[in-house]
């Protein structure tokens, strides 16, 4: 049997020591009528056969590395340096457990502390936790954090204003997460500064994306000022790659910052595992869900790291916990930690500069094509690595045609918003070459003919 060390002889010796006649006898508490079911599962494969089957299945997927890839919309094709895989795959990291026994988990704990530090610098906040499942759940937990901070029991402030130009999947997750609480979500189809200006005495927070789902950049500083003037907190969702170049939402005044950390050294992997980043100002830390690692000393004065402020968590507060979260995204967070260390301040800036330049080059080429328009350029809105393209024929049709040429031009917005049939969300990262961008432009032109 695979992965089982005990032999028949071992089992016999163990049964003797226990004083049991058979292994079956150990299960005599199980109701007899339902004991030992025959499971209809496929028969076992050897390792060789299993790999062959997996390779065959993998080849049925379209891989971003085999196409000119311009699809983003929440999952991004960014460069992952070789050190990330090499170091995170070490068994001591991969097969370690949650660091509840700090003396034998200093590797994991120090890596989390380093991640917390670098992520805080990136997002412009004072404290970052050890991560959530993904950007969407991090944002939802950030919203609940703002609700708790406003004094949930007081009941007066129950409204969260949310910019409607947020990833639709994120909006769904927010709805799911607040459904049990007396919270009203008000989605406003306005840019961040205008949405925040609508804050009133019932608003406990304003949720703003930076950039928006359409890729545009709003005025976060103005949004923060408006929210604060009304006594509300500003919760921002950030692009961590963009934070390598532009002022972070934290620096611009956001009290709570969430982000999707997949772009930091984690492959797209059909949507998971991803990395939810969540940070805030220091005064909100006791309301922050999730794990936190802090510095500590032992009796000899040696520096170590330990899970701290654990009284907030579910295993102690139980039903009064701030959140039910038990795990963090351990390995995904470690990969981000190694990525941030490898990139460093100059690498993060360079990657973001490449994204900015290439995206603007692509937008310029596409805007010049007959029948196509790029609203962000026409209305002089700033954008980072994604922008919406208005297409002369339905975007979904274009995507179908281009798939045959090995070009994935972007995300037809009709897949989330059925009425937006002629809109394509194009994403350009440092992975796209000039040649691929020009191929995209040519392909789009031909597709419209």
């Amino acid at each position: 049997m695979p992965y089982i060390a005990a032999t028949d002889r071992d089992r016999k010796a163990m049964l003797e020591r226990i004083g049991s006649g058979s292994v079956e006898e150990l299960f005599s508490d199980i109701p007899a009528s339902v004991r030992f079911p025959k499971l209809k599962l496929p028969p076992p494969l050897s390792e060789m056969e299993a790999m062959r089957e997996i390779e065959a299945l993998a080849s049925k997927n379209l891989s971003a590395s085999s196409s000119a890839w311009f699809l983003g919309a929440g999952a991004y094709y960014h460069f992952i340096p070789a050190v990330v895989d090499a170091l995170s795959s070490r068994g001591e990291f991969l097969t370690a457990y949650t660091p509840y026994q700090p003396e034998v988990s200093q590797g994991t704990l120090q890596a989390i502390f380093e991640y917390q530090s670098m992520a805080a610098a990136l997002l412009g906040v004072e404290v970052v936790n050890a991560s959530h499942y993904d950007g969407a759940t991090a944002l939802a937990e950030g919203l609940l954090m703002a609700y708790n901070a406003a004094g949930a029991a007081a009941g007066a402030r129950d409204k969260a204003i949310v910019c409607a130009d947020l990833d639709p999947e994120y909006k769904d997750v927010l709805r799911s997460y607040v459904s049990a609480f007396p919270i009203r979500l008000e989605f406003l189809d306005l840019p961040p500064e205008a949405a925040a200006a609508r804050s009133d005495e019932s608003t406990f927070c304003v949720v703003v994306p930076y950039p928006s789902f359409s890729g545009t950049l709003g005025d976060i500083a103005a949004a923060a000022a408006s929210a604060h003037a009304a006594g509300a907190l500003l919760v921002a969702h950030a692009d961590p790659i963009m934070c390598g170049l532009l002022k972070s939402p934290g620096e611009l005044g956001a009290d709570i910052v969430a982000a999707e950390g997949q772009a930091l050294g984690n492959p797209m992997s059909f949507g998971g595992p991803f990395l939810g980043m969540l940070g805030s100002s220091a005064k909100l830390v006791r309301k922050m869900p999730g794990r936190l690692v802090g510095e500590a000393r032992d009796s000899q004065g040696r520096r170590g790291f330990v899970l701290t402020l654990t009284a907030r968590e579910q295993h102690i507060r139980r039903e009064k916990a701030v959140s039910n979260i038990c795990s963090n995204q351990g390995l995904a967070m470690l990969r981000a930690c190694i990525y941030l260390t490898a990139m460093g301040r100059s690498g993060m800036r360079k990657v973001a500069e490449l994204c900015w330049s290439k995206a603007h080059y692509a937008a310029g080429l596409i805007a010049a094509l007959p029948g196509y328009a790029v609203p962000a350029l026409t209305s002089r809105q700033e954008f980072f690595k994604e922008f919406v393209v208005l297409t002369p024929i339905p975007a979904a049709e274009i995507a179908q045609k281009l798939a045959r040429r090995g070009v994935v031009p972007g995300f037809p917005l009709s897949r989330y918003y059925p009425e937006r049939t002629h809109e394509l969300l194009v994403c350009v990262t440092e992975m796209c070459t000039k040649g691929q961008i020009e191929l995209l432009a040519r392909s789009l032109e031909e597709a419209a003919e």
Binding site: R286, A311, I316, K320
Partner: protein
């Protein structure tokens, strides 16, 4: 287990001591000992109106977090600001410097209804 004879108690380990027109509220020596080293105290704001039994704060140690319930109804007139910088006061001197809040009671007879020191001591010893 130290018992302050001037206090009356709740079974949830809060004490209430008359001081002039106000009631001083804290947690008993037994409670601080069970919690272990206190790391953080969160208290209701001055001015808050509370009914007997309402939650007025949380006391956290490394291994536990305990809600604090108002032993009497009234208004919170003071909170112990020293605990923010030195939560260990709660462990060292729970009945004195480790006080939590002061309440202006709205229904003083409630105080009489609390457990007297001897009864509380017996109950706490059973735990």
């Amino acid at each position: 287990m130290k018992i302050d004879p001037n206090c009356r108690y709740r079974s949830s380990h809060e004490y209430a001591r008359k001081d002039g027109a106000e009631i001083v509220v804290g947690i008993s020596d037994h409670a601080q000992e069970s919690l272990g080293d206190i790391v953080f105290v969160e208290l209701a704001e001055v001015g808050k109106t509370v009914a007997q039994g309402d939650a007025i704060g949380v006391v956290e140690s490394v291994k536990a977090a305990s809600d604090i319930y108002a032993p009497v109804s009234g208004t919170v007139v003071a909170v112990n600001g020293e605990l923010e910088g030195d939560p260990a006061l709660l462990n060292k001197d729970p009945y004195g410097k480790g006080w939590l809040v002061r309440i202006a009671p709205s229904n003083l007879p409630e105080w009489e209804g609390l457990l007297d020191p001897a009864t509380y001591e017996k109950e706490a010893a059973k735990e």
